[in-house]
């Protein structure tokens, strides 16, 4: 969330020494800010691998991982696996949002729907998507449908719970204000409920997508025939530990990009701009 970017400095720069100012400017550079935190981790990783303190059969260093990356790209496997994973994710997330968003608002807003579905919602969200797989496979086979189902299942619940919580937190007063300004139910919904619950909805989308991504990997491991999750599973079977590590990095990077390029700017432009969430003032 936006919330995670530091607020632009409001203090007069004139009072800060030049060197520190330079440091601040450097640190504020998006690339430094984004990649900086990974540097220590890369170093530790590299050091652990270099000392050979961990059995190399189960642990790959940055060099080997890079090698496997270039090799897989050269062979064309990486692009094709990536494409498969992304396609599945797109289907899963697409349907997940399509189902979860409207359903979430219906449950949040209609006391009947809430009564009838809330306990079921809680019940089913605990049942692991992957617990469904054995049965899904019998129904849908080793198909895109099974994988999509698992992702949808994972995306929908946090989304719905997030929406319900968000709607509950919309001040009643604002609904009243809109009603007395002539907004009908539908308008109240779009003009008040949606934006008012947006911080929680955005958080639900973020959590849902993040875990949907996880579900994809889990599903590919279990019903996999291609994709990044399958690549990791297959590499593990084959003892190619560097590909397992590579898989994790690819997953992380992709999700990071999705989050940083789409979700975060969206949140910055809405809930933060509106002052609904804000970065806390630094404790001084």
């Amino acid at each position: 969330m936006t919330t995670m970017t530091p607020p632009a400095p409001t203090r007069a720069p004139a009072r800060v020494p030049l060197l520190r100012r330079l440091g601040t400017v450097l640190l504020a550079h998006p690339i430094v800010r984004t990649l900086g935190p990974f540097v220590p981790f890369l170093l530790i990783w590299w050091a652990v691998a270099a000392t050979g303190s961990v059995n190399a059969a189960f642990f790959a260093g940055p060099g080997e991982v890079w090698q496997s990356f270039t090799e897989l790209v050269r062979k064309g496997m990486m692009p094709s696996y990536l494409g498969d994973s992304l396609e599945r994710l797109a289907y899963g997330v697409g349907f997940g949002l399509l189902i979860g968003l409207p359903l979430g608002f219906v449950v949040a807003l209609s006391s009947w729907a809430r009564r009838l579905t809330w306990p079921l919602l809680l019940f089913f969200q605990a049942i692991a998507d992957i617990a469904w797989l054995p049965i899904l496979i019998v129904w849908f086979g080793f198909s895109l449908t099974s994988v999509t189902f698992v992702i949808v299942y994972t995306v929908v619940f946090p989304l719905m719970l997030g929406i319900v919580a968000g709607v509950d937190q919309v001040p009643r007063e604002l609904v009243n204000a809109a009603r007395s300004l002539g907004a009908g139910r539908l308008r109240v919904f779009f003009e008040v409920i949606v934006p008012g619950s947006l911080p929680a909805v955005a958080s639900g989308v973020r959590t849902g997508l993040g875990y949907g991504w996880r579900a994809l990997i889990a599903a590919e491991i279990i019903v996999g025939t291609s994709g990044i999750g399958f690549m990791m599973f297959d590499a593990r079977r084959a003892g190619e530990v560097s590909q397992v590590f590579l898989g994790m990095i690819v997953l992380g990077v992709l999700w990071y990009a999705l989050d940083a390029l789409i979700l975060a700017p969206f949140e910055r432009a809405t809930v933060e701009r509106w002052g609904l969430v804000r970065q806390m003032e630094a404790a001084r």
Binding site: F58, G141, D234, R237, A238, G239, E240
Partner: protein, 353 residues
């Protein structure tokens, strides 16, 4: 990934009469299927075989068979509970096992570090150990066989459910004292884990089973295709038996990440079990395995194997192409089967050495 034919999303050209969809697992003893395709043996018989991407486990393969995604799969122990749950399975041949003897388990080994003190000479040394096996799979049964031989009870060891790829880590991190697993894992693990070695291999404690499994419906509708398929499989088995090193090398193309040295070493053990023929010994093997599974709570007791066997197609192949089975040990006469054979456990027991 590397499976040749159609993907699961594309069930292939089902319209053509001489076509068949087959599934296998990424295992050294199952590569006969892709190698037959590679060597053109299916094509030679006018059969168009689509190979599905490899399934992770036999359970998944049976689920795919049940869901109608494939027509024929290569499966071992999981077929017992599946059959008990009502799947209409038919066994038409072996991908691994033996038609000439009751027990064969050359592809199975126990791996441990010397600290564990487990030796082949004294099976009692298993007592109190934590043993990694995949519960319900053939390595689990091998452990049960060992325990029986040693006169130990199941409760005398701690069984740790471990997938084969995890056995190495489990040994390395002292999560288990010994790993029991099939090839090529014993070879891989001894390479990976310092000090780990094969402390035991084979020994004829159990019959290793692995069948060509199809559905009743498919067999009834496509008997010729099944026969052609079995003939091609028999041909590739023969080729592997005669060219184990070349086959080991070829296998690495289908088992990504497997080094050729490892594959070739594993293939040496594997060829001893490449016997596609059916005899009473194969009925007996499944019977024995089912009993062991029941003992290990991996299946219901009192499994009758006979209804699931249909020897007709393979018998036809054996009759028409005796050359494909050259070099295999003679099937003892009392163990030989023909169409209409009725299985009798006592008789089979006597017939198979």
């Amino acid at each position: 990934g590397c499976g040749g034919g159609a993907t699961v999303e594309d069930p292939g050209a089902e319209g053509s009469a001489a076509s068949l969809r087959a599934g296998y697992l990424s295992a050294i003893d199952q590569v006969g299927l892709p190698l037959a395709l590679e060597n053109g043996y299916f094509e030679d018989r006018g059969l168009n075989v689509d190979i599905a991407d490899p399934f992770p486990t036999g359970v998944d393969a049976l689920n795919a068979l049940q869901a109608g995604e494939v027509d024929l799969v290569q499966v071992g122990t999981p077929l017992v509970p599946a059959a008990q749950k009502g799947d209409e399975l038919v066994l038409v041949g072996n991908y691994t096992g033996s038609a000439s003897q009751a027990s064969i388990d050359d592809t199975m080994a126990v791996v441990a570090t010397p600290d564990a003190g487990i030796t082949a000479d004294d099976l009692n040394s298993l007592r109190g150990k934590r043993v990694g096996v995949s519960v319900g799979s053939i390595n689990h049964l091998y452990l049960l066989g060992l325990l029986e031989k040693a006169g130990l009870k199941t409760s005398d060891v701690t069984i740790v459910n471990t997938a084969p790829p995890d056995l190495g880590v489990a040994l390395e991190t002292d999560g288990i004292d010994a790993a029991i697993v099939w090839d090529p894992w014993p070879i891989t693990i001894t390479d990976q884990v310092d000090g780990a070695e094969e402390v035991m291999r084979g020994g004829g404690h159990i019959p290793f089973v692995g069948y060509q499994v199809t559905t009743r419906e498919f067999l009834d509708e496509h008997p010729d295709e099944v026969a052609a398929y079995l003939a091609a499989r028999a041909e590739v088995d023969k080729w592997i038996r005669e060219n184990p090193d070349e086959a080991g090398e070829a296998a690495t193309r289908w088992l990504p990440g497997t080094e050729s040295a490892v594959a070739q070493e594993a293939m040496q053990h594997n060829v001893k079990q490449l016997d596609p023929r059916f005899s009473a010994c194969n009925y007996l093997a499944l019977d024995t395995v089912a009993d062991l599974m029941a003992q290990g709570d991996a299946a219901e007791p009192d499994f009758d194997p006979a209804p699931y066997f249909d020897p007709a197609p393979i018998l036809k192949v054996m009759e028409e192409n005796p050359d494909l089975f050259e070099g295999l040990p003679e099937v003892p006469a009392p163990a030989q089967v023909e169409e209409g054979y009725t299985y009798d456990q006592a008789a089979a027991d006597k017939a198979c050495p």
